[in-house]
């Protein structure tokens, strides 16, 4: 069996399912828009000071909506034991992780790209640049790695969604720092060398947690 094909099979099924249910799609698109617009209502948009906190608002919205989406996504996995079917099928655990990771990565990437024009419109700043897209990709990678890992880990726990945020938020704070600071610097039109250290940091973070998640994934699956 071609492993890439299997990974894509899992991810494709997840995405079709989300398209059909619309619940998660609304969460990642609607909820982040909602968070952004609440900030528009509560602060004065057109001052210099406000422009400085736009990156923080943007990334908070992404992380909040992604966490809620993760909780919803994995609740359907356990509803009828569909996740158990995956564990029982003759594919290695790594493939399951890759598959779930891919679908989550695509979802969080959609949400962070979708939120860019919304932020631009609501906060009156131009952030439609290619740099943001690249930034969104590397940060979404880290977010979906740990998100997938923790979401599968918390399948059995009581008060699942609270527990998921409790471990997920502290673990991804470095990504939040990186995202906010890089975005801030790009808005101020700084050159690449200013955000270089952050970019390398995020790549390092992505790589290390991807490896750790793969190493430890087997341990969280066994009951």
């Amino acid at each position: 069996m071609n492993p890439f094909k299997t990974i894509w099979n899992i991810a494709k099924r997840d995405l079709i399912l989300e398209l059909r249910r619309k619940e998660v799609l609304f969460t990642i698109l609607g909820f982040s828009t909602l968070v952004l617009s609440i900030f528009v209502f509560s602060i004065d948009v057109n001052t210099k000071e406000t422009q400085k906190i736009v990156p923080a608002i943007y990334w908070s919205a992404i992380i909040f909506s992604f966490t809620i989406a993760l909780g919803r996504r994995f609740s359907i996995e356990i509803e009828n034991g569909a996740f158990e079917a995956l564990i029982l099928s003759p594919i290695s655990k790594d493939i399951i992780f890759f598959g779930k990771f891919t679908s989550n990565f695509i979802l969080v990437l959609i949400s962070s790209v979708f939120a860019l024009p919304i932020t631009s419109i609501l906060f009156n700043i131009n952030i439609l640049k290619i740099e943001y897209l690249l930034l969104a990709i590397i940060i979404s990678f880290g977010l979906s790695t740990l998100g997938t890992f923790f979401a599968i880990m918390s399948i059995k726990v009581r008060a699942r969604e609270v527990m998921l945020s409790l471990v997920f938020f502290p673990a991804v704070t470095p990504l939040l720092f990186a995202g906010v600071d890089c975005m801030d610097k790009i808005i101020q039109n700084n050159n690449f060398s200013d955000i270089q250290s952050w970019i390398f940091f995020v790549l390092f973070y992505d790589a290390i947690f991807f490896l750790i998640s793969l190493l430890l994934f087997d341990h969280i699956l066994q009951e």
Partner: protein, 230 residues
Amino acid sequence: MKITKLNFINIFIIFTGIIVVIDMWMIFVWVPTEINQGAIQRILYLHVPVAWGSMAAICIVAFSSIMYLYKKAEKWDRIALSAAESGAIFGAMMLLSGMLWARPVWGVFWTGEAKLTFSLILFILFIAYLMFRAYFPKGIQQKRISAVIGIIGAIDTPIIYFAANLWERAHPPLIAGPAATSDSFISQNIILTLLFSVVTFTLVLSSLIFLRYTLRKNEDEIDLIIINKT
């Protein structure tokens, strides 16, 4: 466990108690008051050791978690749990003492400074570990998943610290109190007291872990008795 029984743990705890008394005497009586900050500075003799203790605790959690996943022996899980609980207490003490110190010296309870951000996240990680454990159905999987959280948390902490430092360089704190000017007079007595406090609180942490470990062992034994009876 009878208190009269003089096993290793009891001797160790009594020894720790004596050291704590000596440490308190050093902090409040022996060491001279620091010139710049006044009496407030004495908080640091508590703050620095508990901060060290909470970091030592997360290392112990990580080490015993790895050992648990590797050896699957109950012992390591108990050590990890004991270290996490003690670490959470130390973390809370670190945050509280830090804020009490910062208010008069920096003028605020909290800033976005790297070490503060880091210690808050460290504390949340301890809480997450304990909450997850408490909310998970009892069994092997609970222990295994706790171990996984312990390992990820411990790997995350230096990364968070590094990120917080990068972050701080980008956003220099607005408030710089006398502590930041670094012209305060550091006498040999102050350093000695600080070092002694660090040793003392390392002992306190170890005693807490020892005590919690025996307690946990007894809990497991009681569980076993209940299982065999039903």
